[in-house]
């Protein structure tokens, strides 16, 4: 099956350093893909290359199976089928309404037709009342909503979102994540979201691409990748705790380690108890892996150096199977 957008034999070299090497990657139509990776893993570069904003050093970008032209009218026409929201998207020095109207204006869409679409998306992102406010007077969350509405209003074939929640405080992030999740659920648009955050990836995407040091370490449907992380790097990035069992590594899903019963037991050496105020957690080591487990309120805290037994409620082998 040919993807809507994809890359073949892609490399990107920046200042003599290879930042991206992807032999093959396809984003399928109507898929919601999250590209997950740590900072500096090349995920923003991948997004820019896919969105035709940056030319790769070698390789091709495919759009519906055909090599994308790199310059000229055809390249612009193709670029206009996409929309991109950069991290901390820079807004223009004008009102919220005019910011959202920008991309339509670039395409020659103005007047009542444009107005109707703009109002719809301002309302969907809950910023209809801010239409006449100047972009400079917005809070971080409002600015990010403006940036997203500005891209969604274009009804693009593919929408590229680069860290849509970076630099937002926790309440703004939570409320926008929830709104965006609902909007994406209705949207039939193909969406590529770049994020370093496993929770954002899990909530916004149905397929994951895990990128580490410029290379794809896992790719596939979300459930599959979460149930069978193919390697240690991908597992750790997705929040799994990777622990050794009889010389093999198993991945314990986020939140599955505890003091109670489980499918697997591990001996943990206590280092200290971390006080959060609302809960206490025991921090220690299993082999040379640092782990944390919750300490129930009625349990006395263990002393440093003590060896206790912890259990994993669930665990999956690494490398499939």
């Amino acid at each position: 099956m040919i993807g809507l957008v994809g890359v073949r034999d892609l490399t990107v070299v920046h200042d003599g350093r290879q930042v991206l090497a992807v032999p093959s990657l396809d984003i399928h139509e109507e898929a919601h893909v999250a590209v997950v990776g740590p900072n500096g893993s090349g995920k923003s570069t991948l997004l820019r290359v896919l969105a035709l904003l940056q030319r790769p050093t070698t390789g091709t970008v495919l759009v519906r199976g055909e090599a994308a032209p790199v310059r000229g009218r055809d390249a612009l026409a193709l670029r206009r089928r996409f929309a991109v929201v950069l991290q901390n998207t820079p807004l223009c020095d004008t009102t919220v309404y005019r910011n959202v109207a920008l991309g339509l204006g670039f395409r020659g869409v103005t007047g009542p037709d444009a107005d109707g679409r703009i109002r719809v998306w301002l309302d969907r992102f809950g910023i209809g009342h801010l239409a006449e406010r100047h972009a400079r007077s917005l809070s971080g969350g409002e600015a990010q909503r403006t940036g997203l509405a500005r891209a969604f209003v274009l009804d693009p074939e593919v929408l590229f979102l680069d860290e849509p929640f970076a630099a937002l405080d926790a309440p703004s992030r939570d409320s926008l994540l929830n709104d965006l999740e609902l909007i994406l659920r209705e949207a039939r648009t193909t969406v590529v979201t770049v994020t370093h955050d496993r929770e954002e990836a899990a909530r916004l995407a149905d397929a994951l691409v895990v990128l580490v040091n410029g290379a794809v370490r896992a790719a596939g449907p979300k459930d599959e990748v979460f149930q069978h992380p193919p390697n240690r790097e991908a597992a750790e990035l997705l929040g799994f705790t990777v622990l050794p069992v009889n010389g093999r590594a198993v991945a314990v899903p986020p939140g599955a380690l505890g003091l109670g019963d489980g499918v697997m037991r591990f001996a943990m050496t206590v280092e200290r108890v971390v006080e959060f105020g609302y809960e206490r957690r025991i921090r220690g080591r299993v082999g040379d892996v640092t782990v944390e487990v919750g300490l129930p309120a009625d349990c006395p805290p263990p002393v440093a150096g003590a060896r206790i037994t912890i259990a994993a409620a669930r665990a999956v082998p690494i490398g499939g199977g």
């Binding site: 820019r48 904003l53 612009l76 929201v85 820079p90 223009c92 020095d93 670039f106 007077s137 500005r150």
Partner: protein, 233 residues
């Protein structure tokens, strides 16, 4: 002090009366410096944008030359322009020396680096990611450039004010390439020098007041446009 008051009074008389000679000199100053400023915008803005947005060999050197040009002594520009326009000079065949066009050329050489340098600075202070974001919303190359100019409109209008201010007020270049010919190339600054040399301080002061008023009016128009843009936020 009396002299200044007397000069100011005389200036207002000349202005109110619409003294034909003052009007002629004022109009020529405005026309010559206005055209020179316009030409410097037409070339300086694109050059400034190129310097701000592109990386090419010799860019820093060119920017350094332009920044030096922002403080060019008008007399030096006048001298170089004279040499070029001299009957036996490389551009002598144009027969432009001691014409208003010669003053326009010299003033253009003074204003263009100011406009180019300030444009480059204005565009460079914008968020560099804005270009990428605009492209990501489907802007063509030209649409991106237009939007960047719009984003930098306040400092760009400051560049217009600085460019016009530098040429309307210079005397050295106008004197050297224009020659201060009555009814032909006599502008406010050269006329002021002449009247001072002749000892007609009242007329010299009157001309200075006219020059200041003219500069103030033009600058005020541009400032009003600029601030209307600034407040519409």
């Amino acid at each position: 002090m009396d002299l200044i008051l007397q000069g100011a009074r005389h200036a207002f008389e000349l202005l109110l009366r619409g003294d034909p000679q003052v009007m002629e000199i004022m109009w020529l100053s405005l026309r010559v410096s206005g055209i020179a400023t316009l030409l410097s915008l037409v070339t300086g803005v694109p050059l400034g944008m190129l310097l701000a947005l592109r990386r090419f060999p010799g860019r820093t050197l060119l920017l350094g030359v332009i920044n030096t040009g922002m403080g060019l002594p008008p007399v030096v520009v006048g001298l170089i322009a004279s040499i070029f326009l001299w009957r036996t000079g490389p551009l002598g065949f144009l027969d432009l020396l001691y014409t208003p066009s010669a003053i326009v050329i010299a003033q253009f050489a003074l204003a263009a680096p100011i406009v180019a340098g300030l444009t480059a600075a204005a565009i460079q202070q914008l968020d560099p990611r804005l270009q990428v974001q605009l492209a990501g919303l489907g802007a063509s190359r030209l649409q991106i450039l237009r939007r960047l100019l719009h984003e930098a409109r306040l400092p760009l209008l400051a560049a217009v004010i600085a460019g016009f201010g530098s040429v309307i007020s210079e005397v050295g270049a106008s004197m050297m390439v224009g020659g201060n010919v009555l009814h032909y190339t006599r502008v406010l600054t050269t006329a002021t020098v002449l009247e001072t040399e002749k000892g007609n301080f009242d007329i010299a002061i009157a001309l200075s007041v006219v020059l200041l008023t003219l500069t103030f009016c033009v600058t005020m128009v541009v400032t009003t446009v600029q601030q209307r843009g600034a407040l519409r936020r």
